[in-house]
Symmetry: C2
Subunit: 423 residues, 2 copies
């Protein structure tokens, strides 16, 4: 008998009917002979409704109380799901993050899991119950206050519990059939990937694929937990994310996993930076103090006649104005000339573990973009990824050109909407 | 500096605006120099909405999960209330029943408080916070599962916390100005009572006054906690329920506290019971097994010619059909002739601690009912109470007649609706 952790997001439990559908799915797994621990997000719009309520009483709610409020969302969904399972003739017990032993640091709103001590979950499973755990939440080790894990938190809860329970697999149920070679909304011929390494999934997630959050994949890699991303609306296999070799599989993995894209970044250019040692360090120290996450960085070759250079970097649009203001405040101190802010960029990334040993990949990549008349503004690479920044209105053409150039198009593309998994 | 526990029911926190109003009230108390611990119920219709949701997925939800679901209600209200207080410039921290140390037995849906260990509340108060505690909920000592206290549970939470914290007073905020000499909807001239002993309040509560639940008053009496019942819509003093003598008060308490009435009971008559020893015991053992709460009992004098008697008793209407069915199943075994079920009765009770030493009370009482042509069907008494059962359509006339006969009518009655305090 194996132990399966199943995670259902808010869109899978949006109303009573979908809760009942998810309950049937869980009971099927139980009846197939597996122990089942379920992680569930808040139902549909519950979180937004609670946030609205908070705004009505306070312009800036204290973070501790906001976490207390939001965690009511999973409390509702998990109890209702346990009831729906009970009405199918199986016993289920629901547990808050705190009861499930999800111990975090004390950073409200984006707490990190420090430890998982799932004694009560283990007992519930041993007694034959299906265990339902509230995703997205935990309890601070130091303050004993209730915390939330931030975006993608329920996926992280699921993987962390799978690791602590030594589960055989962590199934993440979502509204698409798995991870695709590209966003099917842009590339109708995109194919579902059967397997993906955690390195590849990390690069996909970090470069715009919204299907799994980075933290969750990092956790799975560290504890060697296979993640099965699959649809809650069908019984088809999804995508298995694992570094374990497939059984009986001797052939090499495909060179390319897929093409990711990201419309969520903006570019800031610091113009006319005096070309002295330490200038870049000063600039990025100011940026770091805003806690913005910088992605790509390009520094132009210094113009000999002026002794000045331009430094460009990309970052999430949501951090953009904040960083511009911070830099503007130190303009005289650093001595740069001006700031440019550009939020009409797109990022395109080609990802594949096989790149390491296939030197022709970048040539094919740039030829494909060139033939599609895509202008490249910035480039960055890792061992298993090449990324470029383009104009945002050229991004879709670029994704299709690259996807096609690497032979990723399927004969009959599945027309499936590629979406996020909620929190 | 004194410590005040304030309890606000669901009708006092029905929406964002009323939460803000309650927050101002709490902050006023804090600014007056008191430590404040607040107990709050779920907002407005939240509990009903959650029950509806449960019904949509399960005809008979497991009690453990129903408690888990319903306790989301106070989690929302307490966090939102803490936010509203914070936006007024005071710090507040909210605590679940479990965090507040409300330890109960394991009976889901109607758990009893076993102990209160308010270490975290005490710390929060010592650090200068206003503490907000979820009413109606606790955690089982044995199973560690979340429990709810059942009807009136939030009042009980408030009094139990007041006792554990050694508070100076427990203020129960409601939608009326206090405890009245009678229901002002029936007796417009009813007066607010300034003080009431716990014995009197217990009799009032047990005999139909819905303003406080029995359990909460019992708790207050046992731990000697004064309860101040007052309106959340005005700053007037309400009714103080206490056995401590008022300062400087040497005069005797009034003979009569008030007139309570109850439309919630039904009468069952077991007709033609063989008049042997042990018959009544058999009947009431059957009734006890249904867990119904019996109130008044009358046994007629046995008719010599038949050797049979009739036994009548009253009980909550909600238990009626259930008990009739249970008795019907043992008709042949006990040998009675038939069962009568009458749910058109009303109960009228006159309550006053001064009755003990004023023998004329019952004469005045029965004369008043007689002059109003009220037919009396059953009578029961305690040291400080006389109750009668009448036809339900005569009840209001009876209440007015008795109220008037004991000089309780005020010159200018306050027209205030007399209602429950929610849960």
């Amino acid at each position: 008998m194996s132990l399966v952790v199943q995670k259902f997001g808010g869109s899978s439990v949006s109303d009573a009917d979908s809760v009942k559908r998810v309950a049937r799915r869980i009971v099927e797994t139980r009846r197939a002979g597996h122990d089942v621990c379920v992680v569930v997000s808040a139902m549909g719009d519950t979180t937004d409704d609670l946030l609205d309520l908070a705004k009505q009483v306070s312009p800036l709610p204290p973070a501790r109380e906001l976490d207390m409020l939001l965690t009511a969302g999973e409390r509702i969904s998990m109890a209702v799901l346990a009831m729906a399972i009970a009405s199918l003739g199986h016993t289920a017990q629901s547990f808050t993050g705190s009861q499930a032993g999800v111990i975090t640091d004390e950073v409200h709103g984006k707490a990190r899991i420090i430890d998982v001590t799932p004694g009560r979950i283990r007992s519930a499973l041993d007694e034959g119950h299906i265990a339902i755990v509230a995703g997205f939440q935990g309890v601070s080790q130091t303050t004993k206050n209730i915390t939330t894990l931030g975006r993608g938190g329920s996926d992280t809860t699921a993987v962390a519990l799978a690791a602590a329970l030594n589960a055989d697999v962590c199934e993440i149920y979502t509204d698409v059939d798995g991870v695709f070679t590209a966003d099917p909304r842009i590339v109708p011929a995109a194919r579902r990937l059967e397997r993906l390494s955690t390195d590849e999934m990390l690069e996909m997630a970090a470069n715009g694929a919204k299907i799994l959050m980075l933290r969750c994949v990092e956790y799975a890699r560290r504890y060697n937990i296979p993640i099965h991303v699959r649809s809650s609306f069908s019984h088809k296999d999804g995508t298995l994310i694992t570094d374990k070799p497939a059984e009986g599989e001797a052939v090499e993995a495909p060179i390319i996993a897929g093409v990711a894209h990201d419309r969520g970044e903006a570019k800031i250019t610091v113009v006319g930076v005096p070309d002295h040692p330490g200038m870049a360090a000063q600039i990025f120290r100011v940026v770091a103090e805003t806690e913005a996450n910088i992605d790509m960085i390009v520094q132009n070759v210094s113009a000999a006649e002026t002794g000045r250079t331009d430094i460009s970097f990309t970052l999430p649009k949501s951090d953009g104005q904040h960083v511009v203001q911070a830099l503007d405040r130190v303009r005289d101190q650093i001595g740069f000339e001006s700031l440019l802010y550009d939020d009409h960029i797109g990022k395109l990334s080609l990802i594949g573990a096989g790149m390491r040993s296939n030197p022709g990949v970048s040539a094919t990549f740039f030829r494909a973009l060139s033939e599609a008349n895509i202008n490249i503004e910035m480039i960055s690479t890792s061992e298993i990824r090449i990324s470029v920044v383009t104009r945002d209105d050229q991004l879709d053409d670029g994704v299709r050109a690259v996807h096609s150039a690497f032979g990723l198009d399927s004969a009959d593309g599945e027309a499936i909407v590629y979406g996020g998994t909620g929190r």
